[in-house]
Symmetry: C2
Subunit: 259 residues, 2 copies
């Protein structure tokens, strides 16, 4: 079971879009994928038609199980989506109160990791969609994943924020046993603007091999897919954005599900 986290403290860089699209490409009758929404805002949860305001079975319950002394177990909390082989662990707005509730209480950084150990073998891939903020939820996701995907918008402000994300990783790295591999994914690349080409060149200069050699282009069909509540690869399999994410999957060792 491969566990990938999709994270960046900068907002609106394509974290949810990356999680949904990769989940769509990986899942099928022979290959099972679990998408976990670790963001209190619940974009992924809403994408699949659930309401984070009222959701009562999801990631938050893992933390309440742990606070009561039990080992967190997601089995009864997981929901099926309408797509074969694609399951969900949803978010709720209550997750936004976790940092305040847990305060400086120790040991709450491994809740997600312990929970995913319970479903080892039931899924081929688990994808974690992270919130745009460093807190207990992001720390949980970074402790639970084998590899980290960092979507970065190809523009100046986003590059500035990336340094901070990498510094955060170095901080978390100290508390992990295995090395946390990460890969930077240039997203929302608009080939018509000079600023995008300059930002991309700068990104490759600063981070070299840590950056995936391809780019995810701007593709307005992602917006249509989100209003339809389905991964774009199920709607328009040869859309520009889908083909780019398929190339990414090959580069990071993901096996595309047989269509």
């Amino acid at each position: 079971m491969k566990v990938w986290a999709v994270a960046n403290q900068k907002g609106g860089v394509g974290k949810t879009t990356t999680t949904v699209t990769l989940g769509g490409l990986l899942s099928g009758p022979e290959q099972r994928v679990l998408l976990v929404d670790v963001d209190p805002h619940g974009s992924l949860t809403a994408y699949f038609g659930h309401d984070p305001e009222t959701a009562t079975r999801g990631v938050y319950e893992l933390f309440s199980q742990c606070a009561e002394g039990a080992t967190p177990d997601p089995t009864a909390l997981i929901r099926e989506s309408r797509f074969p082989g694609l399951d969900l662990l949803t978010a709720s707005t209550a997750l936004a109160t976790l940092d305040r509730q847990l305060g400086t209480r120790s040991g709450m950084g491994l809740v997600l990791r312990q929970a995913l150990e319970k479903v080892e073998g039931q899924y081929d891939y688990v994808l974690l969609d992270c919130p745009p903020m460093l807190g207990v939820l992001m720390v949980n996701a970074l402790a639970a994943c084998d590899e980290l995907l960092i979507p970065v918008q190809t523009e100046f402000l986003a590059l500035k924020g990336l340094e901070r994300m990498i510094n955060t990783l170095k901080m978390v790295q100290k508390s992990r046993k295995a090395e946390l591999k990460y890969r930077i994914i240039p997203t929302l690349f608009d080939r018509r603007t000079r600023a995008a080409h300059e930002a991309l060149a700068e990104l490759r200069r600063l981070y070299g091999d840590d950056v995936w050699p391809g780019v995810i282009p701007v593709d307005t069909k992602f917006r249509d897919a989100s209003s339809a509540g389905q991964p774009l690869c199920f709607m328009i399999p040869d859309a520009r954005g889908v083909l780019a994410y398929s190339d990414l999957l090959e580069a990071i060792g993901g096996r595309l599900s047989e269509p």
Copy 2:
């Protein structure tokens, strides 16, 4: 002194771009504006050339003053920008630890409001750039402001998240004396895509007069402005995006500074 907060829990909708552009349009030799970066990620701080990793004088210090029992006073923390009449109160990454540190300690929701009372009369406008997450920082900004601007991307996922933002307001409203007026600002409007027109129509149907009648169009020059570290109105005064923000200012009662 008018205090406006720019907030939305959804990431990447143009909060920082709105704060910077309105700040540029309002500020000048005769009209003084304070921009406050309330986001631990520090996009606004980085935009003006400061580093949120190392910044030691800013919003975080207001909270430490308050935790030590003093009344928070921003006077010594405010920095001048290189633009006349435009000052900054910067963010630092340490702000991300506030929720955990403060835990359920009461009374920390009014720090920003008390601090801004200390500079009453020194500024004509104060703009608060909020983080994409509900926590003690957002609560502080909502308690400190007279009016709230909510940038909303004109697409499906962002509309779903808006409901949650409005519910949050209703929650915070209970603890405020004066009514919190808000206005929804359609941003990143791409007139070439059907999804944008549909989302805009749906936004107006759901929220009626709470939505500003105009739109902020997609304008790639905002990206060039952010790499140049200056508000777009100082670089290209008649750019599409700048003209749209000037229209917005007129609608919300802002006085454009004499160029």
